[in-house]
Symmetry: C2
Subunit: 209 residues, 2 copies
């Protein structure tokens, strides 16, 4: 297998942390998003959506989308489990991972991509050009703060995002919190449960991936 | 198990079609989104995110998010498989399902929710009020058309969205196409593969769910 990564980007970091938790080492190719390598003819053959991460399987098939890549790696390397153990735990992990993506990560992407000067005509990832919508950047910031408060409530009763066990939902949430720091949205002062959880997951060796 | 549904909404329809394909019948509760029942104190206990669908498990745990609900039902009722059979097929289905959601369904939601008069202060689902962003409605329409063209290319070489087998990605895509008709975005004239596929999946008995 071959892993198409970009060291500086949040989405492929979700896979890097996942790989570190699993103890999997893969041949890795850095794609230089800064210079637009994702739009090259060579990379479009790997992923016509022009985004990383991508996992190239031994069959030659290329898999994009973090949730698909992590699920495939879990199928191949079940230990340690990062999607829960039972069917019910699996469902709770997927639910929380989807909530983190939709309420947290996509909101952060709205906030960042619609305000960064470097992305004036690339407000969305992918091959198509979209101009920035300033109101969407503003709404994104509001939503990220609300997401952090929502997560704080969940973590009042749970050690980790999906319950008493570490999972892929924690990885997605940690990456979202670190991404929020790019545009100076910190963990709120009135979110002690989120702060406790964030300190704990950030201390894991995988967090440096 | 108990299924919290709304007959008129696209997201729970994804679960209804999935259940029909599996031949599963569940006790079903209709939640009246039109009158705001999702914001009631009673429903907030079932899902604090105030959205349907929700699957209440026999343990009492409530699972929201379509991808989590369908995956749980697949774990309990593997036949017929709707997430592929092998690990590789599973990965391809999850990849395409995520693409359909992000490039198709969320774009459609942007287009609809930011233009519907009834949703002036509810441009996003959930308990928080967000005003509409007209530029986001416009961008959503553009993206939905591009999504249909993208899907047409995929369907030029594949009988179904994720390959030569019917899957949950087809359900998500069909629901997106039908949702697009709400705001008069038809299958484009220059998308013959998409038209062929759409006619085929719409003829399945599950499509009426």
């Amino acid at each position: 297998m071959k892993f198409y990564d970009c060291r500086t980007a949040p989405s492929p970091r979700r896979v890097r942390v996942f790989l570190a938790e699993k103890g999997i080492e893969l041949e890795t190719v850095q794609v230089d998003l800064g210079s637009g390598e994702q739009f090259s003819a060579a990379f479009r053959k790997i992923n016509p959506d022009c985004v990383v991460p991508v996992l190239e399987l031994d069959s030659g098939r290329c898999i994009s989308e973090v949730s698909a890549i992590c699920s495939y790696l879990e199928d191949l390397h079940p230990e340690p489990p990062l999607f829960g153990k039972s069917a019910e735990e699996h469902a709770v992990v997927l639910m929380w991972n989807a909530r983190v993506e939709q309420q947290g990560l996509w909101a952060m992407a709205d906030a960042f991509r619609n305000s960064s000067k470097a992305l004036a005509n690339n407000a969305l990832p992918g091959p198509d050009s979209y101009v920035q919508i300033p109101a969407l950047a503003e709404r994104g910031r509001t939503r990220v703060v609300r997401f952090m408060q929502r997560l704080d409530s969940q973590l009042a009763d749970n050690r980790y995002v999906a319950g008493d066990f570490y999972s892929v939902a924690d990885i997605s949430a940690m990456v979202t919190i670190d991404f929020a720091a790019w545009i100076k949205i910190p963990v709120p002062d009135d979110a002690p449960n989120l702060a406790r959880w964030y300190a704990a997951v950030s201390k894991r060796p995988s967090a440096s991936a």
